[in-house]
């Protein structure tokens, strides 16, 4: 029997037996997308994300001033508690503690913030997915060796989960020193066990479905089923988690910045760093902290809304 007819056979079987998870992954997503389009949460989330991405791309060119220009240095007297943190004239968001234009820094900072979020999410996703897939495949293929591999991997993953995420990130950052790369790696590593567990769990759930047994009874090797069916069908929760992780990553990166581990380079402002710099002056110039903080909150909200809406749309139980 040729490979293609075999594959077609599995697909057909999956179609017939998977009662709730209608057919293959593709139509599951098409169905989910149809429902996402009518979901208010999803639309708001997607709109926020779109604005944020546009800002990250064109922000640095739109910024009226440079991120480092200490243009209004003389107007801010930190020692005397004199700040300009509210909008005025050409400075829509006021000035920061060094007399720089907060609005410009906010626009320019969007790119770094997005970069931190995306890169750390990708680190977590890629490494986590590889670990999870290995573990899930080992467990599904079974055998004493497979079970053993799965157990060992999961023990390590559980250990990583046992550590408070922030502390794990802090210790990584402490070893690697203070830089943007450090923050991204630290936040990314924290996400690894989450993705790994999720993908493994999802694969095990798929592996126990009837279509796997049916395909096996047709003489199709289990290894093949894992690659062509189980793995693709297990990816949807991972993709949902990736969306949610972007929110967590941006928030955690801000926390790391607050703990003094963020990017020290003043030329590449980032919202988390801006917020942590503003905290010292919070009593005198609260708005200086509010702008980057609101940026972080709204962006995180956008990713969370979209992620939650996706989760709902993909949940077979909620499908009407």
């Amino acid at each position: 029997m040729t490979t293609s007819t075999k594959t077609a056979k599995i697909d057909r079987l999956a179609e017939l037996t998977a009662q709730n998870e209608t057919t293959s992954g593709a139509s599951l997503w098409r169905e989910a997308f149809r429902r996402l389009k009518t979901n208010k949460m999803a639309i708001i989330g997607a709109a926020i994300i779109a604005v944020f991405i546009v800002m990250a791309i064109v922000g640095p060119w739109l910024a009226p001033h440079s991120a480092t220009a200490l243009t209004w240095k003389s107007e801010v007297l930190v020692n005397q508690g004199k700040f300009v943190d509210s909008p005025r004239g050409g400075n829509w968001f006021g000035l920061d503690h060094l007399g720089r234009d907060t609005f410009s820094r906010f626009l320019i900072g969007a790119r770094q913030t997005l970069l931190v979020g995306v890169v750390s999410m990708l680190i977590g996703l890629i490494v986590g997915a590889v670990i999870g897939a290995a573990s899930g495949a080992a467990a599904t293929l079974g055998g004493r060796l497979g079970q053993k591999i799965d157990t060992v991997i999961m023990r390590v993953v559980d250990m990583m989960l046992a550590l408070p995420s922030l502390l794990l990130a802090v210790s990584i950052a402490a070893v690697m020193g203070q830089s943007l790369t450090t923050v991204m790696i630290a936040v990314g590593v924290v996400q690894i066990p989450i993705f790994a567990r999720l993908l493994r769990g999802s694969m095990l759930a798929q592996g126990s479905k009837d279509y796997v047994l049916a395909a096996q009874s047709l003489g199709i090797r289990k290894r093949r089923i894992v690659v062509t069916n189980i793995l693709p069908n297990s990816l949807s929760p991972v993709i949902v988690q990736a969306t949610l992780s972007l929110a967590t990553a941006i928030i955690e990166a801000a926390a790391l910045s607050y703990l003094g581990l963020g990017n020290p380079d003043p030329a590449v402002p980032e919202w988390g760093v801006m917020l942590s710099q503003a905290q010292r002056f919070f009593e005198h110039a609260p708005m200086m902290a509010v702008y980057p903080a609101v940026g972080i909150i709204i962006t995180a909200l956008g990713f969370t809304l979209l992620g939650e809406a996706m989760r709902e749309a993909l949940d077979p139980k909620l499908r009407g």
């Binding site: 046992a162 550590l163 502390l167 070893v175 919070f282 909150i297």
Partner: protein, 334 residues
């Protein structure tokens, strides 16, 4: 029951052992090794060699690991480079404050979160539901330290309702018994101290509660919605039971099972949050101490803290498992 406890405790051993290996490797991977961490970056090679010998770092790795393990088993986590005191002593001194804060936060999260989630589910689509769902989404998205700054700025600095830092006001003479300031006041009859401690506790606890509260509201809501549709709820209604019996015995009892598990998982994020919260409110617990340790690159404290937290975390999860098995008879059997 006892067998379950013992089995679970035994299961912890490999986890903690593995963790210790990770930490040991991490310690050895420090830039320049512990010696330069202690001596700073400008240490001479002779100094480094001397320190390495003193710390036993010239010996084979497995010997070093064995000693590392033995020290942890003896609760010897080394000496803080900031204070020169044993790390373990520093922790035990500050731990009660963090425990008090965490318990207060968890109480707020559970006491507010469970009823709110339940009501939101019962009135699905109503204003309370919309408000609590959006509120919990925002709660998850606000950086903890920013929330702390805002609350402190408004309620302490501007309005002056709550004290803005510390655990007790200066001038309050409190006797320490348990280390939990609120409890000590009650035990010793110093009620003014208890009141003062509570006032100090409120804002940090609310801050720290924000994330667990948001998670518990959402979990309870989702869980109640699921349970309400179960067949056994229909059975209970078909028996003509009073609504309070249907709600309490049949809906809530089942709906709270996943919430209890979540509470265990939330402890980890609670301890992370404590580092941030305590540092904004200068609360004087382990969190504040870790914040300064991070600044000072105080590695023995950081390593000790991770080991310490990991132990607490697994212990709490053990307790949650046991609690779970008390409520859910299906777990008890196997």
């Amino acid at each position: 029951m006892l067998r379950l406890v013992i089995r679970r405790l035994l299961q912890l051993i490999p986890t903690l052992l593995g963790l210790s290996v990770l930490l040991f490797l991490w310690l050895n991977r420090l830039p320049g090794g512990p010696a330069s961490a202690i001596l700073g970056e400008r240490a001479t090679e002779a100094d480094v060699a001397r320190i390495n010998r003193a710390l036993g770092l010239d010996q084979p790795v497995y010997v070093q690991y064995w000693r590392f393990l033995k020290r942890i088993a003896e609760l010897d986590l080394g000496t803080s480079t900031q204070t020169g005191q044993p790390v373990w002593d520093e922790f035990t001194l500050r731990f009660p404050a963090t425990v008090e804060l965490s318990i207060a936060a968890m109480i707020i999260a559970v006491v507010v979160g469970v009823p709110l989630g339940y009501l939101a589910a019962r009135k699905r689509g109503g204003w309370l539901d919309v408000a609590s769902v959006s509120g919990s989404l925002v709660g998850i998205c606000i950086p903890v330290f920013f929330l702390a700054m805002i609350l402190r700025g408004i309620f302490s600095v501007e309005l002056g309702i709550f004290p803005s830092y510390g655990r007790l006001s200066t001038g309050i003479d409190a006797t320490s018994v348990t280390g939990l300031a609120t409890l000590d006041g009650i035990l010793t009859g110093e009620f003014d101290a208890t009141w003062d401690a509570i006032m100090h506790l409120i804002l940090p606890a609310i801050t720290l509660a924000s994330i667990p509260l948001a998670v518990i509201v959402r979990m309870t809501r989702a869980s109640v919605l699921e349970v309400v549709g179960e067949d056994y709820i229909r059975t209970a209604v078909s028996k003509g039971l009073e609504q309070k019996v249907v709600r309490g015995r049949h809906i809530l009892r089942n709906a709270l099972l996943p919430v209890i598990t979540a509470i265990g998982l939330l402890t980890g994020s609670l301890l992370s949050g404590a580092v941030l919260t305590e540092s904004v409110f200068t609360f004087g617990g382990i969190g504040s101490f870790i914040r300064t340790a991070i600044d000072a690159r105080d590695y023995p404290v950081l390593v000790g803290f991770i080991m310490f937290i990991a132990m607490i975390y697994v212990l709490i999860n053990l307790l949650v498992d046991l609690a779970y098995s008390l409520i859910d008879p299906r777990v008890r059997v196997h």
